[in-house]
């Protein structure tokens, strides 16, 4: 008897990769734990191939999700439908999807007799970002600022609802994975979109420390969380930091230094001119930066990250066309 996994938000680039990885794992069981079926849920069909994943088109903001869980006998829920606002997804706002969707999903889980495990794909955005931040956040640190709006606020609220659920259903194993943004050319994250611009707006006088997660590490850690029982909250991010100045120089892209006051609006305008978009909460990250401590993942979860943040960035850089200043540093 293997597991039946429900993955939400599979139309997203990262969630679709996670669901496919889980479906492929089902064919070769690890440690006797097999995955029978992976059910993918979203309001729109995914762009790519989902492989062995059974796609169900449903909205998690409606009670339909409970029915899907009952019909499919779902015992593990991987909730990945908490995403920063995205222009390509028209319709209601990100908050509606993130928060109301989570509430409906948790309500369905609470009613379900079969659900024994919930894995939440959260983000390090729950720590916010402010000048009062410690150098590295541990899982127990509280946000010092920068969680009053946008995606960071959504993440905090989603985690609060999940904690409420864990109080009501203590027998359900709950794993909250707080990931630093995955940096990979195929995965749609705000930082990837930012780095793909030909010129990069930065806040004048600030050089934030950034962390990235390697896609393979992220996929592995989700597989581990599904296959093994690892209750708790864990930070996931490549070791070390890459400062924004390092990143821009390595990419060989010119920076557009903008005054820190009004940086959000100015940066957004600059990026729109270049044909991209800047998620509204990214400007704080690009001002103060954020880094997290992953010792809990190593010691309690028992997972060794294979790639440092620098390696993740180098791999990403190699996949990109060099910027116009790349000749300056002689990197190819």
């Amino acid at each position: 008897m293997g597991r039946v996994v429900l993955v939400t938000g599979v139309a997203g680039t990262f969630a679709s990769r996670v669901s496919r990885t889980l479906a492929e794992l089902g064919e070769n069981p690890v440690d006797g734990t097999a995955i029978d079926r992976v059910v993918g849920l979203d309001t729109r069909p995914p762009d790519g191939d989902l492989g062995g994943v059974k796609f169900v088109r449903a909205d998690i903001r409606t009670p339909v999700v409970g029915k899907v869980m009952a019909v499919e006998d779902v015992d593990t829920v991987v909730h990945l439908d908490v995403n920063p606002p995205d222009r390509s997804r028209a319709g209601s706002g990100a908050k509606e999807r993130n928060v109301i969707g989570t509430m409906q999903l948790l309500a369905a889980c609470q009613r379900s007799a079969t659900v024994t495990k919930l894995v939440l794909g959260s983000s390090t955005a729950v720590y916010g970002t402010s000048p009062k931040d410690p150098a590295l956040f541990t899982e127990s640190s509280a946000a010092q600022g920068g969680v009053r709006s946008g995606f960071p606020k959504d993440s905090v609220e989603v985690e609060n609802y999940v904690r409420g659920f864990s109080r009501r259903r203590p027998e359900v194993i709950i794993t909250i994975l707080r990931l630093a943004q995955v940096l990979h050319p195929d995965i749609d994250t705000p930082l990837r979109n930012y780095f793909q611009n030909p010129a990069l707006p930065t806040a004048l006088g600030f050089d934030p420390r950034l962390q990235f997660t390697h896609l393979d590490d992220a996929l592995d850690v989700f597989s581990e969380a599904v296959l093994r029982d690892r209750p708790g909250t864990f930070n996931v991010a490549g070791d070390g930091v890459v400062t924004l100045s390092q990143a821009t120089r390595r990419l060989g892209k010119p920076v557009i230094p903008l005054p820190p006051v009004g940086f959000a609006a100015a940066a957004r305008r600059a990026i729109r001119v270049m044909g991209g978009d800047l998620p509204p909460d990214l400007n704080r990250l690009l001002t103060y930066g954020r880094a997290v401590d992953t010792s809990a993942l190593r010691e309690i979860f028992g997972f060794e990250l294979k790639h440092t943040s620098e390696e993740v960035f180098e791999e990403f850089r190699a996949s990109q066309r060099p910027g116009i200043l790349a000749a300056l540093g002689g990197r190819r």
């Binding site: 590295l136 640190s141 806040a203 004048l204 050089d207 420390r209 120089r249």
Partner: protein
């Protein structure tokens, strides 16, 4: 004489000689040229320039025909006694021409091959001066050092350098140390005592008094630690530091991080040398009248951090920072508006504008005191507030007493 002058000249053209008392310069040179005897000129030419150069040759060939046309009548009339005067002139002339020719020849030999180079830009001399200057600044192995410098610059520009998770960039820290050196040594005449009290390895918490309106004492302490013990001081700064543009960026790069228990313990357990100024803004923003009177030492958080990490506390007493910007006034309302803890008025600051921002050249003494051991206590003792208060007071008292002793030693603040 008068006859001569009337006959030779420019013929009354405007701006030239007046034909009666003073001839034009052209006329005078013509007169000289007419009387120039060929023998001495050629003799000098041959003697001076064995390598017959072109301009010199031109002079000798062109000079004779000119006077032949215009000054011929003058020469005919000229009496015999005129000769010595004219000869004297020609001798001088010849000497000057010889000197010019010699110089020309010398220049030609120097810039062999580049004969078309216009005179006036001594490119070779500039190059020689540059090379000598570089040698003087960088020493004899300047070539390899310059190559290293460019290699480093290239790496920096390509982003190929390492920072730790706090954002500490050792290369930038090194640059800052060399930039601060003249300020510390020449301007503040820094004297450092008790360097042996800085542990050569392992974690330690340096606790210092804070003063001077602008936290330059942190910078100088970091410099002193780096210079005399070779270790990097990792200062713990207020959150305002990291909220300010440029300041926060540089602070992180030179190794500073936020003064909070999490960061302090992380640094200390990692075996780093952390520096803390527990007085904070109360210390640097106190009026000049209260100089060298220690303020409250925070809430003693630094002691609990050191105890948990089981590292010694090194009391650091800094004398001299109080006088760099004597704080005589404050504008609390404007400071609140700008979100600053205080807005200083010094005897020179708003008055002289940017000139008032130059720190006064006080004499500095930094003394690293004997380390206070915390490993005698259990790490759990960090949860005993009474013990923390006692240790905090002990550190504070040590620094205060050392300050008094150093002040007596120093004598006058400026001389």
């Amino acid at each position: 004489m008068n006859d001569d002058r009337r006959t030779i000249g420019s013929g009354g053209k405007a701006g030239r000689g007046n034909r009666s008392t003073s001839p034009s310069s052209a006329a005078r040179s013509l007169a000289g040229g007419a009387q120039r005897p060929k023998k001495p000129v050629t003799k000098v030419k041959k003697a001076a320039t064995s390598t017959t150069t072109k301009p010199a040759a031109k002079k000798t060939t062109k000079a004779p025909p000119k006077p032949a046309k215009k000054a011929a009548p003058a020469a005919k009339k000229a009496p015999a006694q005129e000769r010595p005067r004219l000869r004297a002139v020609t001798d001088e002339d010849a000497a000057a021409a010889a000197a010019a020719a010699a110089e020309e020849a010398a220049r030609k030999t120097r810039t062999a091959g580049s004969a078309s180079l216009p005179a006036g830009i001594p490119l070779d001399e500039i190059v020689v001066a540059l090379v000598q200057g570089v040698q003087r600044v960088l020493g004899s192995d300047w070539e390899s050092r310059l190559a290293t410098f460019f290699a480093v610059l290239r790496k920096r520009l390509s982003g190929d350098f390492a920072v730790d998770e706090f954002g500490f960039d050792p290369q930038i820290a090194e640059i800052l140390v060399s930039a601060v050196e003249p300020l510390a040594e020449k301007w503040f005449r820094l004297e450092v005592r008790g360097v042996e009290n800085i542990p050569s390895e392992g974690g330690a918490l340096l606790v210092a008094n804070h003063s001077g309106t602008v936290p330059i004492d942190g910078l100088i302490t970091g410099y002193a630690v780096k210079k005399y013990s070779g270790r990097d001081l990792r200062p713990l700064g207020a959150d305002l530091v990291f909220a300010l543009p440029f300041v926060g960026q540089v602070a992180r790069k030179v190794g500073a991080t936020l003064a909070c228990t999490a960061d302090a313990e992380r640094l200390l357990t990692g075996g780093e040398l952390a520096g803390v100024w527990p007085e904070g803004f109360k210390g640097i923003g106190k009026p000049f009248a209260e100089r060298y009177k220690l303020q409250r030492f925070g809430r003693g958080g630094f002691v609990s951090s050191a105890m948990r990490a089981q590292v010694p506390i090194v009391p650091v007493s800094i004398v001299g920072a109080e006088e760099i910007y004597p704080l005589v006034g404050n504008v609390p309302s404007l400071a609140r508006l700008l979100g600053l803890p205080y807005l200083p008025i010094t005897p020179f600051f708003p008055l002289l504008g940017p000139l008032g921002m130059i720190p006064l050249p006080s004499k500095w003494i930094i003394e690293f005191g004997e380390p206070i051991r915390t490993d005698a206590y259990e790490p759990e003792a960090a949860d005993d507030p009474m013990l923390l208060f006692n240790v905090t007071d002990q550190v504070r008292e040590t620094i205060q007493q050392t300050l008094y002793a150093l002040l007596v030693d120093r004598g006058n603040a400026f001389f």
